[in-house]
Symmetry: C2
Subunit: 311 residues, 2 copies
Amino acid sequence: MSLTVVGSIAYDAVTTPSGSRDRMLGGAATHFALAASFFDEVRVIGPVGGDFDAQSWETLQTRGTNTDDVELVEDGKTFFWKGEYHENLNRRETLETELNVFESFQPKLSPAAQGCDVLFLANIQPDLQREVREQCGSARFVAMDSMDLWINIDRDSLVQTIAGVDCLILNDEELEMLTGAPSFVAAAREILTWGPSSVVAKQGKYGAALFTPEGYFALPAFPIDLAIDPTGAGDTFAGGMVGYVAAHEGEAVDHDLLVRAMVYGTAMASFNVEDFGTERMVGLTGDEVTGRVAELQRMTTFEHRPIGLRS
Amino acid sequence: MSLTVVGSIAYDAVTTPSGSRDRMLGGAATHFALAASFFDEVRVIGPVGGDFDAQSWETLQTRGTNTDDVELVEDGKTFFWKGEYHENLNRRETLETELNVFESFQPKLSPAAQGCDVLFLANIQPDLQREVREQCGSARFVAMDSMDLWINIDRDSLVQTIAGVDCLILNDEELEMLTGAPSFVAAAREILTWGPSSVVAKQGKYGAALFTPEGYFALPAFPIDLAIDPTGAGDTFAGGMVGYVAAHEGEAVDHDLLVRAMVYGTAMASFNVEDFGTERMVGLTGDEVTGRVAELQRMTTFEHRPIGLRS
């Protein structure tokens, strides 16, 4: 079993209605790895600068995540993002983006990374995602994320990249934007004809929906009274979901496995928003995760007692 | 068994990305009754004008809905609303509102209406809702809806009305607006301390969530490729949910009953959006409803297979 992720490793400055952090460890690959490491050994591909400190290395290596393929650019600075959340976290404003070492990033994968069983392409420029995907020819399951930026400026490349993966995990509004379809339902079904055998529509605080040729599954989010910081929730979701698949090495990645995987992704994401950045995920235990999955089942299960309807 | 609803009966002019209608039967009480009439005899309270035509009476009376308490103002005009939906139905713009006979509406309930077992107060001015509620002293279950307008201009009266009902059914954003809470979860839990023993957060295309002192239940919406017209979906949801409760005359209205009721509400609402106004609901069959509930169960059920998580 081995799980490789390529994506950003970052320092974030975040302000939410609950408070702020000037500089906290973040980035898609970081959030993904913290969740996925509950399921499998994760190998992270991404660049950091000379300012990447010892505590950040330690956090990135939580539960044995392998950082041998993290590229250290001694004279560069780590990717930096500054943002603020408004209106009950419903609106996010980017205040600063410094690409830094990410600007000239060219993924170089070790043979161990290339030989991965499962691969996640976090949100980076789609050409780079495709290059990484092509280096991992033996991967049993490849999933990817993206963002509105690439839909707007690099759609052709993005569509080509999507055609080469097994699973697209994207926000529901981005699915609509990508396809021009009138709903995320129609959008996901269209993308199933492009190449992927599964599409996940992330719906933020509402939950997520899975589309495969075998069927449809939807799961509401775990109810959170006060989300502190949603940064990284989507990558944490992906980490839980893709990690669960990685943990099932011998199994066919069919609809049922993806359903169960999505439940773990949903549970993971709900913890991520309970504190700033990686602060909740670092101390999270397996028992807490299992408990939340059980709670999600209780909260979504109903008995169907058909009754006679009037006509 | 008897179910009374008070609310608007209207003509709507609607434009959506799929087309338009210049004048179609609408109004909260209409949409509610069309759904609830699958479960119980519904009695409608609301005013119409001399322009209310024979076909509209017939539609309102679908599945035996009793219109004896509908007040006909011969020299008045029926309430009229004109609106347009944009951006994949995510944004609604009101172009015209003519209150007409609704402006001076004073609900007068017949003894039969007052003696109802279950009461639904659709969205009208909260003082009027309270007057109706007080006339129905023997009702076993009283639910209500409202809207942002009353939160903004008549909040004190609205809070007083909410205190006197069993169940508040409101959009998730309106729950946040009403309470100032940072999430619909926190908002619903706060409102449970105001008087109601259940709160439902409607989430549009994403689904709905139920809060009671006994627990939490959430259900995603049925996936619709192309919603034609969402007008009345919330009232149709309420009609299915409250109608299901009405059909269970002898049963305690506990968490489990409300869970099953919410599933029927969700199924009903998914049909409503498949065509303009009442057009889909008028021809709907009980078998279609039961089938969709079964589909909702398949689409939301998962097996929890706990796995060993790394630490």
